[in-house]
Amino acid sequence: MARTRTQLLMAAAGVAAVFTATGCGAADMTKQTSPYANVGGAKSVTLSVQSWVGAQSNVAVAQYLLEHELGYRVDTVQVDEVPAWDALSQDRVDAILEDWGHPDQEQRYVKDKKTIVPGGGLGVTGHIGWWVPKYFADAHPDVLDWKNLNKYAKTFKTAESGGKGQLLDGSPSYVTNDKALVKNLKLNYQIVFAGSEAAQITQMKQFAKAKKPFLSYWYEPQWLFNQVPMVEVKLPKYTNKCADEGTKDPATIDCAYPTTPLQKYLNADFAKKGGKAAAFLKKFHWTKKDQNEVSELIASKGMSPQDAAKKWVEAHPDVWKKWLP
């Protein structure tokens, strides 16, 4: 028994030694670069890719130019919107290229902790709304006013919506007020979350193929409009009053979504020390048309993001030459 005790003591001493060896001081959890970054002397940049294709286009073009024009190695990590802020603050990713507006996170990380700095606008404005397919809107034009939606509840019914009309929502990570809207506007609808954008797109394409009616949460810019033309349903007008109340209590929202100029954000350290890459990402600025061009190559022509980016870059040197530092 005495033997075991000495061994235990030795083990404890060993553990203590390891801790001392790893640095007896404090370890800063806010400064943790990805273990895959900057290996082998290569300069590298880690970009956050969000799950929608538009964001993939931004990243693909930025990646292509960083690699081929500026000589960086680019790692991409897929993180959902809100956790991406946290990862950005901890330096696990260097930049977010397309943010749809997260006031809480902006307050916490940009204003309070100062670990993230704004990187300027992306040049694209985003708009969220409710949409119906064009073939259905043409046949039933009055569906485009939200006041008539209850009349069509039966038409939009599916197996998942339990007797009510189905409002198809996408990924749980997207910005959405739909629960509050359905409740406050007294709509006889059930929100069915597709779970991911992939699932939602598949579902919408299948509805479109069978020319079936559907009502879906969707957003612009989005390449799917080129394949499935859709028309937006008018919700009650967006006002500042409604928005202010909504920031206080999200359950009270009863108006449409705003139109948001999409923003870029950089890690504070990276913005200072990131050299050419940081300067380039700050200048990155393009239009809805450019983004959709790349997105469509990726999503419907089945090109890899790298190839799509290459094709766009070769065709539009006038646009990206201005971004180079």
């Binding site: 370890a27 806010t30 273990p35 082998g40 990862a87 998942e160 779970g195 699932a199």
Partner: protein, 673 residues
């Protein structure tokens, strides 16, 4: 036939009741009498308890769903805790001096392994793995390894594969060390074993998704969290097998060693550990396989590597790309599985005598080292360290075309059988909806009572208590409704899995050719990451609960088929022979000899089916199965950890309850041992 044959085991309650009443009257045996009296006594006690408690419960909280008065709202304190952690991560001592060091150590280790792998280059890594596989597992496995690494490179996945390997290497090492130490404690001390066993048993039945949230809460998104979640998931099997191996050591040998005057340490090092080495290697094998499946799921919390490629591909419905990233995972799994499994088998054999001396012992290992260095140098001289860019074969396009064709032709309007979309809506309408409404409509105390009855009939009062408490905890957490929704999905999918699994299992047990055809398919199915199943099922069945069920069924089916086949194969040939000589037909043999004798295996199949189905139904939250899985995804995606953690806790409780209700074997083991 298969359906009638399997029905008894899908529902333990009716089965237990049947053995207790009429079924055994024609052939009374002492055993059935015992069972009858046991079951009857338990039922009587439960009826008394119910008679006292139900009127009370009904009078006070009469509602179908769990009463609000009995719930505790934990989301507020959890949300505060999460905010506190984010605000204090860079200042509080516990992060600076404890978690921060863990996190840094993980990053340093992963980075070190990754740098080594990149320095070796594609030529070095391939050569080293092939040679090691050849040394420990033989020529066939070595060839498999060579081909697998080549395919990873050809698919253009070399760098992500190395990232996953680096993450895996660190996670597996940590799991083996931690699991081994825990197992050592459990193997040497009876008290430690008794404390550890229920925890380890429980950890093994929990869906991987439930482990992600707590680590994200502390470590945030990124590699450290991913590695730790993987370790937590992969260490328990190692600990379990180590403890079992040490405890199973031959008492005679130990006695002999003691009588030779060996000290405690000598006994451990020279007798107990070597005797347990088969279990130890099996433990390593299990830890590797669990780590791989978790490393893929951890892409949801920023683990990077191959899992991340699958995750990215899923977000653009790109089955081809998902497959290109999924194949290397499967290949890695096959290589690692075969290597460790053959190493385990070879341990028992005496060292091969033949062959030149140079191919044995340390000279061979030295040779492996030298060849690796030479190949690495040649590779570096020849050009790039990463896989040469020209040497890739794009498979995305043809795979996607095939998928589109399938969707075009199978989705709807197929004559006679109907399209997959029609199946999906029928499944939802006729099975899932009634079941969910039934479960949600049942009074809450009735659900508790049913759980208690099932668990007690099949296990002991302790399992019944655990199961009932787990169910009650779900109610207290305030997620009764979504939990009943998840439960209905699990039950329906388990039912289909068992019907199909038993049918195929019975067929495979009767035909060696079918079994041989099935085996490679089952091998691959069992190692495929759950993620890859999700997108083709969305393409085939749309969005909602039906595709989640389909993925769950496909995922759980191999295990059920395998256990059923083995159980039927292991039935005593003498019993079969005597039945045959008495003139029993094939059907009679199956129903009256094979199935009853294989009952323990069939029950194990039920248990495994339930556990696996639950795991995938939860991940189905990504394709619209809603309920608890959606809450976890939502929690991760919105950084709303309170919602996610509550759902995670409910998943844990649900897993615990389902396992206890379907697991009679552990008790029997103890009695037998």
């Amino acid at each position: 036939m298969s359906a009638t044959a399997t029905r008894p085991s899908t529902d333990p309650a009716t089965e237990a009741a049947a053995t207790g009443t009429a079924a055994d009257e024609t052939r009374p045996s002492p055993l059935s009498a015992v069972v009858r009296s046991h079951a009857a006594r338990k039922l009587a006690v439960l009826v008394v308890i119910a008679a006292v408690l139900v009127p009370l419960a009904h009078a006070k909280w009469a509602s179908g769903s769990w009463p609000d008065a009995l719930t505790v709202d934990v989301s507020e304190p959890l949300g505060k805790a999460s905010d506190w952690i984010i605000d204090n991560r860079d200042s509080h001592w516990i992060f600076l001096y404890f978690f921060g060091h863990i996190s840094n150590a993980v990053i340093i280790c992963v980075r070190a392994v990754y740098v080594v792998l990149l320095t070796l280059g594609w030529a070095g890594v391939t050569a080293a793995s092939t040679l090691v596989a050849w040394r420990v597992a033989g020529v066939r496995v070595a060839v498999t390894t060579l081909v697998s690494f080549a395919v990873c490179g050809l698919l253009g996945m070399w760098v992500p594969t190395m990232q996953t390997l680096a993450l895996m290497a660190v996670a597996v090492t940590a799991s083996v060390v931690i699991g081994g130490l825990l197992g050592l404690a459990g193997g040497l001390s009876e008290r430690a074993f008794r404390a550890l066993r229920p925890i380890l048993d429980t950890m093994q039945v929990l869906p991987a998704f439930a482990y992600l949230l707590p680590v994200v809460l502390i470590f945030g998104i990124g590699v450290p969290g991913a590695v730790l979640a993987t370790v937590i998931y992969a260490a328990p099997p190692m600990a379990r097998l180590t403890a079992l191996g040490l405890r199973g050591a031959d008492a005679g040998v130990l006695e002999a060693v003691t009588s030779l005057g060996a000290t405690w340490r000598q006994r451990l090092l020279s007798a107990r550990l070597p005797l347990a080495r088969k279990e130890l290697l099996l433990g390593v094998n299990q830890a590797i396989m669990m780590a791989l499946s978790m490393a893929v799921i951890a892409s949801v919390i920023g683990g990077g590597g191959l899992g991340d490629r699958v995750y990215q591909a899923l977000s653009s419905v790109d089955v081809g790309k998902a497959l290109a990233a999924g194949l290397p995972i499967v290949l890695l799994a096959v290589v690692m599985d075969r290597t460790t499994a053959s190493a385990g088998e070879r341990l028992g054999e005496p060292p091969a005598e033949g062959g030149p001396r140079l191919l044995r012992g340390w000279p061979a290992w030295a040779g492996v080292g030298v060849i690796t260095v030479v190949v690495t140098l040649v590779g570096r001289l020849a050009g790039s360290q990463a896989w040469p860019t020209g040497w890739t074969v794009p498979i995305e396009e043809p795979v996607n075309q095939f998928k589109d064709w399938m969707v075009d032709h199978l989705y709807t309007g197929v004559p006679v059988v109907g399209g997959t979309a029609d199946w999906a809506s029928d499944y939802v309408k006729w099975i899932l909806d009634p079941l969910r409404e039934g479960l949600q409509g049942l009074p809450w105390y009735a659900v508790l009572l049913i759980v208690a009855t099932l668990a007690w009939l099949i296990g002991t009062w302790a399992t019944a208590l655990t199961a009932t408490a787990a169910m009650a905890a779900i109610g207290v957490l305030g997620v009764w409704e979504p939990s009943m929704d998840t439960l209905s999905q699990v039950l329906a999918a388990v039912f289909v899995t068992l019907v199909l699994g038993f049918a195929i299992g019975i067929a495979a047990a009767r035909s060696t050719r079918l079994e041989r055809l099935l085996r490679p398919v089952l091998d691959v199915c069992q190692t495929m990451p759950q993620f890859v199943y999700l997108i083709p099922v969305v393409a085939l069945f749309g969005v909602g609960r039906a595709p989640a069920a389909a993925a769950a069924i496909v995922y759980a089916l191999p295990a059920v088929i395998r256990i059923t086949t083995q159980g039927l194969r292991n039935v005593d040939p003498a019993a079969l022979e005597s039945a045959r000589s008495l003139g029993a037909t094939q059907g009679q043999q199956l129903r009256q000899v094979q199935l009853p004798l294989a009952r323990p295996a069939l029950l194990l199949a039920v248990n495994q089916g339930v556990v696996l189905v639950l795991a995938v139904v939860i991940i189905g939250g990504l394709v619209g199965s809603g309920a608890l899985g959606y809450d976890v995804v939502f929690g991760l995606a919105q950084g709303d950890l309170a919602t996610g953690l509550v759902a995670g806790a409910a998943i844990v409780c649900l897993g615990l309850m389902l396992d206890r209700v379907t697991q009679p074997t552990s008790r029997r083991d103890r009695k037998g041992a």
